[in-house]
Amino acid sequence: MIRIAAVGDVHVGQDSCGKLRPHWEHLAENADAFLLAGDLTRCGTASEVEVLVDELRDVGVPVVTVLGNHDYQADEPDKVTGLLRDAGVHVLEGDGVVLDLPAGRLGVAGTKGFGGGFAGACATEFGEPEIKAFVRHSKELADRLCGALSGLDADVKVALTHYSPVADTLHGERLEIYPFLGSYLLGEAVDGGGAQLAVHGHAHNGSEKGVTAGGVHVRNVAQPVIRRAYALYELEPAALAPV
């Protein structure tokens, strides 16, 4: 059994020193990998990332993350990414990583993703340059996710995003903001890329469980949603192998 711990939206700040690590005390006993679904920091500053790196030290399992919108707020996503990678965290943006675990090979492909909305109520690449740029950005990130998922040579494939691939896991949020919380393009990428699980954050008032049009499990692991230090999921590679 491949065991995955996942959480999003931990929003680490200068006041978070020593506050997360106690809640990850048994993580290495419970899971084989730790996925972080973005909004790692309050504003994406180097000092906040340093606090997170300290909290993650010796957590005992591989850590894989994507950035969230908060991690872009200080306009230094490359610095955030660099500090995390220097600390041994796998930071994904349109690419993937394969982890050789005792129970099998876990492939994770990730992107922050972007908005745009869902089937029947989505933005289109039409009109002003600003809206065309918005939609084009969402398309590009989703396309890269699909490519990264397809390229994984793994027993289990997981898509990791900050924005949501489905509307299901947004239930509880106001309908008017759905276009700012995710995009059906991410759902298409999850289905097209052959993932068995999609994990995301961002929607603090959403719901934990959903499913893509293609039947892939989707889990919103934003911490205010799961109300636990992290969520735990188990996938059996043998059960997923083609017959």
Partner: protein, 85 residues
């Protein structure tokens, strides 16, 4: 009442300020203005931020009573896993 004093605008401006001001950077807080009283709802990561948000809102909305209904993240490790196969 001036249009800009309408409760919807006051609450919305405060919500935007909470997200955009570097002092707070909190995007997920609901702000409701009812009968001249402000209600703050949502979750923040620490007690310090909970207090700081209420103080920030009080400073930007003088004369309005602030009810701080924010909760903080203090959730335990899970006791079980969900099997997805």
């Amino acid at each position: 009442m001036e249009p800009v004093d309408q409760p919807e605008y006051v609450a919305t401006h405060l919500k935007q300020l909470l997200a955009e001001d570097p002092e707070t950077s909190e995007q997920g807080i609901e702000v409701l203005l009812v009968n001249g009283q402000l209600f703050l709802r949502g979750a923040v990561a620490t007690e310090e931020r909970r207090d700081a948000v209420a103080e920030f809102v009080a400073r930007h909305a003088p004369g309005l009573r602030v009810h701080n209904d924010l909760v903080t993240y203090d959730w335990p490790e899970p006791t079980e896993a969900e099997s997805l196969t």
